[in-house]
Amino acid sequence: MSGVVEVVEAGLGNCIQDAGRPGYRSIGVPLSGAADRILLACANRLLGNDPDQAAIEVSLVGPRLAAVSGIVRVALSGKLSARVSRANGNFADLPSWQTATLFPGDIVAIGAAKGPAYVAISGGFRVPRQLGSCSTYARAGIGGVARRALALGDSIACGEVAGDPWLECRGRAPFDHAAGPIRVIPGPQDDYFDSAAFDLLYGSDFTVSRDADRMGMRLHGPALVHRTDKGADIVSDGVVPGAIQVPVNGQPIVLLADAQTVGGYPKIATVIAADLPRLAHLDPGTGLRFAAVSVAEAREAWRAQRQALAAWCQGIVCFRPPGVIDETALSSENLISGMIDAQALRRAPDIDPPREK
């Protein structure tokens, strides 16, 4: 049966995101969507959801959600944790990369996150789609719950909990993004810069400034000087999340998920699709470096990332949480403790991890 959760503490800047809102950029509506689509997929796959289903993106302090009716299963991904308080007064920590099932009166308190992290729900949050997406774009009041970030008292309908409500799932390990420099493809306005500017771009340390949000982040580093015959203004053209704009002061601005659709600064290079999720994890003060790759290498990196995600999903295991007695498993595995070995349960014929769709 489907459930309802209520926001009993809003936290800070928590918003509903899915795969974003393609199809409306020609009228100025940003793509939006999860800052880290890979972690969104992890949280959803723990629940057997489609990978892009709407979830709560937590960047600072997560919300407290109370299950008010029905059964609600949550899953976490990314660097955050939570605590589940049961209606009967019991409580337990919920680590990331794991699910927990809530019954009426239970509360899950999501803690502080490092970088974007996700709280998904079995069947997805039933938030009305606007222009084809549930993603929150608060600047123009589009999507999300009531067209804004979560607020105290919001009541959100949830999807169905399919199957056994006493069976939880977890990943074998956190999903880790590849390390190394942020990979870029030069251009589209590479002709506005000479080789000295590119040497600085690829050879210097940049630092994320405090001026960073879902729209973009300003970096501090050596000034990337425009060619004197070209200047620092272009007649505005199309941009994309990942585009690295260079305004007149030479300090780059990297556009992110809520990027505007057009821009008037020359773009020296553009971050490849596979490295967009990593960008979102760079907090103010963090250092980063850039490296150039070819379009073919960028596509190969994207395919490798999808394979890593698929492999991570293959590793999802299901288990009976402590305190839940599974009699079939007890008899077949001859265990007498309430603590059940997850691997033993995984071999039980009635317990399958969610299948890749």
Partner: protein, 257 residues
């Protein structure tokens, strides 16, 4: 800014990462370059209807280029880009592609914080400035900045001014504004550095209208119609309740619908 056209002899293909490309026809804001943009968009729409370019999710026409966005799983964006470039070379320019709108604007003092100062700077009376604005035909070059924000060319030089030295923190929604050779209407309350000459009761963006949330699109033409404060209030009430019919703002649309 609106000086002589500098159209390229051949359109250029620019990589915008590994999931988008920009097809660029020139480096200026000029009617002939924009006609190539509109012609290419039209050819691309037709090709999509024939089932070609199915890896392209959407495209954004600008003053002088079209950016095409691929599905994230695109195998080889360079191959797709070359096909787009070939189409861009073949596509005929299109100058009168759009619809014509007559949009009411109230230029009275409460709605026009910069009308007097701009008129003074141009040695005109506010009345003459309004007459110039309403006598001109404006052309929608593109939408961007925020959802539904139209960049309109065709601003008479007598009404032009550089952006405000200090942008306003808050521009009221539906303000009509000019700067840098362009005219626009702010669809939302937002910060802004343009000169505010009036306000329209018409909603330029309606999120509840998924087929056509933005009133205007690139290629449309717009004429402003001066209205008094009472008419503004009436139309604003209609628009607020969703009863201001968009079709009533169209002028001589050639289609029969």
């Amino acid at each position: 800014m609106l000086a002589t056209s500098s159209m390229y002899p051949e359109p250029r293909l620019l990589m915008l990462g590994d999931t988008a490309v920009t097809v660029e026809f020139g480096a200026a804001i000029a009617p002939d370059i924009h006609a190539r943009v509109l012609g290419f968009v039209c050819a691309l729409e037709q090709a999509k209807r024939r089932g070609e370019f199915d890896g392209i999710v959407e495209w954004v026409p600008t003053f002088r280029s079209v950016t095409a966005y691929f599905d994230a799983s695109v195998e080889d964006p360079l191959v797709e880009g070359d096909k787009l470039l070939a189409l861009a070379r073949r596509a005929q320019p299109r100058s009168q592609a759009g619809r014509r709108w007559r949009i009411p604007v109230c230029f009275e003092a409460g709605f026009a914080p910069d009308l007097e100062s701009l008129a003074r700077a141009k040695s005109l009376t506010p009345q003459v400035l309004v007459e110039l604005m309403t006598a001109s035909s404006f052309h929608v070059y593109m939408l961007g900045f925020v959802p539904g924000f139209p960049y309109l060319g065709g601003l008479p030089e007598a009404c032009n001014a550089p952006r405000l030295a200090t942008p306003r923190r808050a521009v009221p929604a539906r303000s009509q504004a000019v700067a840098g050779g362009m005219c626009a209407v702010y669809p939302w309350d937002s910060p802004g550095g343009w000169h505010l000459l009036g306000r329209t009761p018409v909603r330029l963006f309606d999120v509840a209208n998924p087929d056509s949330p933005a009133l205007l699109r690139a290629g449309d033409d717009v004429q402003w119609q001066a209205i008094d404060g009472n008419t503004y209030t009436q139309l604003d009430r209609l628009a607020e309740s969703g009863r201001l019919d968009r079709a009533s703002l169209l002028v001589g649309e050639e289609s029969t619908s």
